[in-house]
Symmetry: C3
Subunit: 267 residues, 3 copies
């Protein structure tokens, strides 16, 4: 399945294999620089995938050996060289795409090789897990482009890596390697390039081995319990435990006690 039109040469491809979807950033010859049409396709793709209750996992990758080089700067003089254009670009194009990923109920795994900078790093930051090849490169060198990171884009980076790392990245504008990205808390794990496919497969298998509703509740609750959020209401707390009479919970516990692998129906 491919979504939308060709845009300015870049596209978002969505592939589906059993309960796993792969969202592919693809802009040939441009290290998957993300065009306005690609940001829109990305938002549409995640809206559709989020609504698919049969899914257990989504992988986000780039085509051709790179994750993404960021927003496509060649479009900037046309689309965002005045305040109205910049607002439309960041608030109505990029922010909805990042939010669609961040709010996806299914586990989302970014698999990163090559360049992962600017908008590419922003996309990776709102995924749940980030697996990278050890030759990947990271950063957001937009201080040399003369503008700050937009608030709705900075949010994901702040939530993932904290204020000090976010400001280091933005104030210095360095591009750095995967080992440093891991030590800064930007990555879940790194592997040798040759092991990227097998580690992706193993991670997907682990994500799919769990009960789907449990994963969705964990994602929901990790957001809901964020600092500064209001206390849980009693109704919310009660809803947290409705699973107890459901088949997946009872299957999971019984399988454990019987020493066999569980079979979850996603209910």
């Amino acid at each position: 399945m491919a979504i939308g039109q060709q845009g300015a040469g870049g596209r978002i491809h969505v592939q589906r294999a059993a309960a796993v979807a792969t969202v592919l950033l693809d802009h040939p010859g441009r290290m998957n620089a993300i065009t306005v049409s690609m940001w829109r396709e990305l938002a549409q793709a995640f809206a559709a995938l989020s609504a698919d209750a049969d899914l257990r996992c989504i992988v986000v990758r780039g085509a051709g050996g790179h994750f993404a080089a960021g927003a496509d700067i060649r479009e900037f003089p046309q689309v965002r060289f005045d305040p109205e254009g910049a607002q439309a670009y960041h608030r109505q194009t990029i922010a909805p795409a990042l939010q669609a990923i961040a709010r996806c109920p299914h586990p989302v795994l970014a698999v990163i090789e090559g360049v992962c900078v600017g908008g590419g790093l922003e996309i990776a930051s709102v995924c749940d897990l980030r697996l990278a090849a050890n030759d990947a490169r990271f950063g957001a060198p937009i201080n040399r482009l003369g503008f700050p990171m937009a608030p709705d884009e900075m949010r994901g980076l702040l939530a993932l890596a904290g204020r000090a790392v976010t400001l280091e990245i933005l104030l210095e504008g360095r591009v750095f390697d995967a080992q440093e990205a891991l030590s800064k808390g930007l990555l879940t794990r790194i592997v040798e390039v040759a092991e990227l496919e097998s580690e992706q497969a193993a991670t997907v298998a682990r994500l799919c081995a769990g009960a789907p509703q449990a994963a969705r509740w964990n994602k929901h609750m990790a957001t809901r319990l964020g600092a500064g959020k209001p206390p849980l209401t009693d109704a919310e707390l009660q809803a947290c435990f409705a699973y107890a009479s459901g088949p997946d919970h009872q299957e999971g516990v019984r399988a454990f006690l019987e020493g066999r692998p569980p079979v979850f129906k996603g209910e």
Copy 2:
């Protein structure tokens, strides 16, 4: 001193040596899997210890070479296979035990060897420091049991390790080693197995060498200044500095200026 009854074969033991108490999780042959009665004993133990103003430090350990394998799943079909039972189990049994540890005014050190998963990791997360042997193993593989982590249990993990690490642990359900747990921010430090006793003793000595009231204020204020909390009132700020005319503060400063170790009375 042993608290409560034998429960389902597991107990919480509390030992006291001078100003240091040790809380021992003990469920022989079950890697200290924590039963309903053990959760209750744990809450009672910490309530009593918190009220003891002569204490300077509490160590939490497991018996028999393990910290704890988590909640005792054998009890689940009996006690939490419907929403009411699950609520009672998590909100009225586990949450009060974790809260009793989290709110303890004295420094609390978890000393971890062997298995530290699920409820064991939840207990460790609400202690102040976590010292682990380098062969300890960590995780919360409950996605295969078919249910999400309860909100009051996830809070401690989120506060310690952040959203990304918490979700990685819950969505993948991997069990991982002490080095990885350290790099994820789950541990204060790790040592060789052979050095666990001596490092525990050294850490306890450091915790006991400080002024007791200063430690309690530091714990209180680190919580009070958490993100999203209301600003300190002027009355609260004034209370922060009441120590200045007290004997421990004056002893500490004078001992420093005289080049001798301070002797604190805990006032």
Copy 3:
């Protein structure tokens, strides 16, 4: 330029070279222990530097091979041995100095060698980046001085390193090395002692290579989006994108597209 009087033998020196200012903590023979007059000079220095729109970067360093050994404890019996004195010292002397650094709109780089403990660590914590020589030493061993860290001082440490690291530092009172400080998230990076000057120069060059207004917006927004803060208003969001018609943004994008370095005017 030197600010204020000699104080109790210590001073804050401010040097300016092109768009870079250096704030030097200097208390000879006392490892730059910070006196009441130095805290006040520090607040004044940062107030003046913050108002200087031509600046692109501020470096904070200590003289004579150390960053700072903390507040000058020799003054304590005179100035803070009762609650009123302690309040005045912490709320009216130290807190304004730390706040003046934390609120500085320009990028602030702490360059750390030798001792960086207590008040020295507090100063470093509110800078944006922390570069350290690998033989620097860190900690806040005030538990042996008999008093807790003041709330406005703990804030910076909590924001930088989180609750667990902050409490470990305060409850144990250990002094630890630069590698451990890095792994705890207290530092941006460490280098060999022999490379400290060249890495400072390289870092300053990177900070100065970006558009000044972009850096200030990034700093402002990273604070504004902190956990528990109210949502951005539409007026705030609009203000975020006013840069788009400005010369630095357009220069940055055009320079990128033309493959040349940008020349920013700071507008």
